[in-house]
Symmetry: C2
Subunit: 245 residues, 2 copies
Amino acid sequence: MKAKTKNISIVLYKPKYAGNIGAAARAAKNMGIGRIVVIGPYDYDLEEIKQRATHMAADVVEKIQFVEPTPDALSQFSYIVGTTARLGKFRGPFLTPRQAAEAIVNLSQKNKVALLFGPEDTGLANEQLRLCHAVVTIPTAKEFTSLNLGQAVMIMCYEIFVASLPDVPAGEVAPRLALSSELEGMYEHIRQMLLDIGFLNPDNPEHWMLYIRRFFSRSGLLSREVKIIRGICRQLQWYAKHKKT
Amino acid sequence: MKAKTKNISIVLYKPKYAGNIGAAARAAKNMGIGRIVVIGPYDYDLEEIKQRATHMAADVVEKIQFVEPTPDALSQFSYIVGTTARLGKFRGPFLTPRQAAEAIVNLSQKNKVALLFGPEDTGLANEQLRLCHAVVTIPTAKEFTSLNLGQAVMIMCYEIFVASLPDVPAGEVAPRLALSSELEGMYEHIRQMLLDIGFLNPDNPEHWMLYIRRFFSRSGLLSREVKIIRGICRQLQWYAKHKKT
């Protein structure tokens, strides 16, 4: 079962552009996070927010909490994670987005958690970082560390969503690979077929079979693909037999 | 050492909005990927692309390859990974972004790899997905699976960047925790100080010390924090001593 994420809020501290608020709302909605808080003295163009969020995230936009930047703007939260690009000397420990997402999902099961993002141009100042229980830094190339605000929100929402999934997400997405017994049946079938058509030397059929095995094992065959290959083998054998007569 | 990513290209198939091309270029540059290919018959507003990319990604924008949508538009690549939101019946196997990123980074060490994104409204059609060696689906909430193109590019570029990092990224970011010996020295110091100020019962000092230990172990103390705490203890002891006299 997916862990709940309803106690998680994306908190934008003094964002400058309404478009980025909209992009954050869309990203949050995509990743199943419904709460956005905007701390700031600005009047934002609500139409621009809605447009960037798209109508699919209209409910998230409507529920955005606009809060004055007072000292207790964050007082409703029990765990606050700040985001920063700057690896200053006294600002650690820094979590990776993956580590932070795990902590956030875990703690949010019983606590209100805020994921705090600073203004586009300056990021969070020390004054806000001091309030944070943990600080996360999204890894970037050294040449260009400044992420677009909406993009940064997306990366964190994505990591939180992945962390909230049951432990075996890969197994849900990836289809079932063929069983070893299915593969062996197929190899035997291929071997027989290649002998039938005179491709393999009957004195040493394994020489080429090894290459064929290597090729197929590398590609990770699915059960239904094994069936298709055996179907082709059957057809080739039928063809070879009828051609000889 | 970070794995190289220079053989990886972000390929946008018939994107509709110049702004999204710019956002993709910025995301790519943030994550150390320098090559963008745009396949499409459209005339894009280069100024809009540049604006969204920001001047920091100007070099990526300048090197964008604009290619006609001919059947051999992708012929320069050896491994093509498609992205799709639609989990159609016959389109698997689907990789998670993390699985795809690992495969992309590995294969790109010796091959040119394309990461292919479809148009904003429809995504990749079966015609393009057929050309793909693997297909990746970014996990989303069920209610709203359609990602903004720039956001989708960012998630994949981020996963590729993380996959290209050396195997112990956590260790590089997280500072060194205090050694057990440092912690024990600190606990002994705290115990002595709490005895000095009469907080602990000399007959059973361990009772409260256990709570204190539990609290500190949960927070994962850093070496420098241990030093600070011991500094406070020393100061308290000095104060307690001078107060008595």
